[in-house]
Symmetry: C2
Subunit: 229 residues, 2 copies
DNA sequence: GCATATTTGTCCGTATGTATA
DNA sequence: CTATACATACGGACAAATATG
């Protein structure tokens, strides 16, 4: 749970666009950073007092985040930080395989923007790994795969991937030792990128498919163990 | 194991809905039926007066529908019925091709539920066509394709397809003569179903792909013309 | 471009219903 | 079972933005 100070600092950020959306932005960040844990209830009173906003406004922000699946809303009980189970993880990877593998297999021409995004994500993951920032490795990793999905050139696919990534970040936060999870995938991502850049579409697709299957296996196992506690 | 009491309590929770959600349900139906046209503004005052609810409650309902993409929210201007352009139609079909073709190509075993849903949708489309209920033909057609996507066995894919279908229904409503649009596809859907049932996965996938490409072409043309007015 | 009317954005107080210690 | 805390829903108020003549 965030301290009163955290809320006070966040309060300064309350100086733009629609209040509900700004509030949603603040809460989104706090949830992503893990200042709330899955299952935590977000009290209307505590937050309205902390941020200096009305209940109506906060409730609109809650709706926004509930739609992003970061929060779940239970009637007359309040809103809670989303708690994913292993079935969710399995489903997330199922969808990722469909979307990402199709993006690669379609064999779209890579624009400069595409290649830059892909390469940067892989580089960021590597440097975060060198610094031991494993949470950031996970984030950069997701950015790489978002860049792959973006090859579809479809706004709706992009939005879907943002959605899936937000859910997966919730998962990552529960994992106790992300290192064993991500370390093997750094080089595999680089290999996939290499295959993509050299135009070996079928190879890249196969590597990606295998990657996602392996990742799902490891992640569900680690997640089941970590989220049990 | 949940006790009988647990289940009873869970059931109550399922059937209970908030006022905002019931209001959203009413408005959703009216929008789908075309009682509001794309671009129409939904006045807070008119609707609160008409339904006898408070503004705060209505605004929550608006948020829900905005997230379903039936409404768009413009700051300080209000909410409007979503207006799709041809780029949206193109993108919708792009995503459909990825999802639906992958569902067929994956070659999942067809359960009884699967086959029943597929067959019923095709039958419903035919009988609606016989009665000249072309709006219903469009709806049954979408149901057939949702059933195809459901072969993935993924809750998230199901939700995505519901989303895409809702958007497409907004498109259908603008088309002036849906008949020329849907009539050719009745038999093609039946052919795809036949290929699926006989296990000719590759054939079915190819037919589906061609179907979706042709449909997109015709639809964008008809839609551009109809929505211009 | 201006003044006015309308509509939304936000907040508050309160009454009622629901969940839980 | 009661008490308490909390969410739901309402209505009123005023500021701020937008639309209208």
């Amino acid at each position: 749970m965030p301290t009163a100070d955290d809320l006070a600092r966040a309060r300064v950020l309350l100086e733009r666009t629609s209040t509900a959306e700004r509030v949603a932005g603040i809460l989104r960040e706090q949830i992503m950073e893990g200042q709330f844990s899955p299952g935590d209830r977000l009290s209307e009173e505590t937050i309205t007092a902390g941020l200096g906003i009305s209940r109506n406004t906060l409730r609109e922000a809650f709706r926004l985040l509930a739609h992003e699946k970061l929060l779940v809303h239970e009637l007359n009980r309040g809103v809670f930080v989303r708690k994913l189970d292993t079935a969710d993880v399995t489903d997330l990877y199922r969808v990722r395989r469909v979307i990402e593998c199709a993006a690669v297999r379609a064999g779209h021409e890579l624009s400069d923007v595409d290649t830059k995004r892909l390469a940067e994500a892989v580089d960021d993951a590597d440097s975060a790994a060198l610094d031991g920032r494993w949470q950031d490795v996970g984030t950069a990793n997701l950015r790489f795969h978002q860049a792959i999905a973006a090859l579809h050139g479809s706004p709706r696919v992009d939005e879907l991937m943002r959605q899936l990534s937000a859910e997966l970040r919730l998962v990552f936060h529960v994992i106790k030792d992300p290192r064993i999870l991500y370390e093997p995938y750094l080089s595999r991502n680089r290999d996939i990128l290499g295959a993509l850049l050299s135009g070996s579409v079928a190879t890249a697709a196969e590597m990606l498919q295998d990657y996602l299957l392996d990742a799902e296996q490891q992640l569900t196992a680690a997640y089941a163990e970590a989220s049990a506690r």
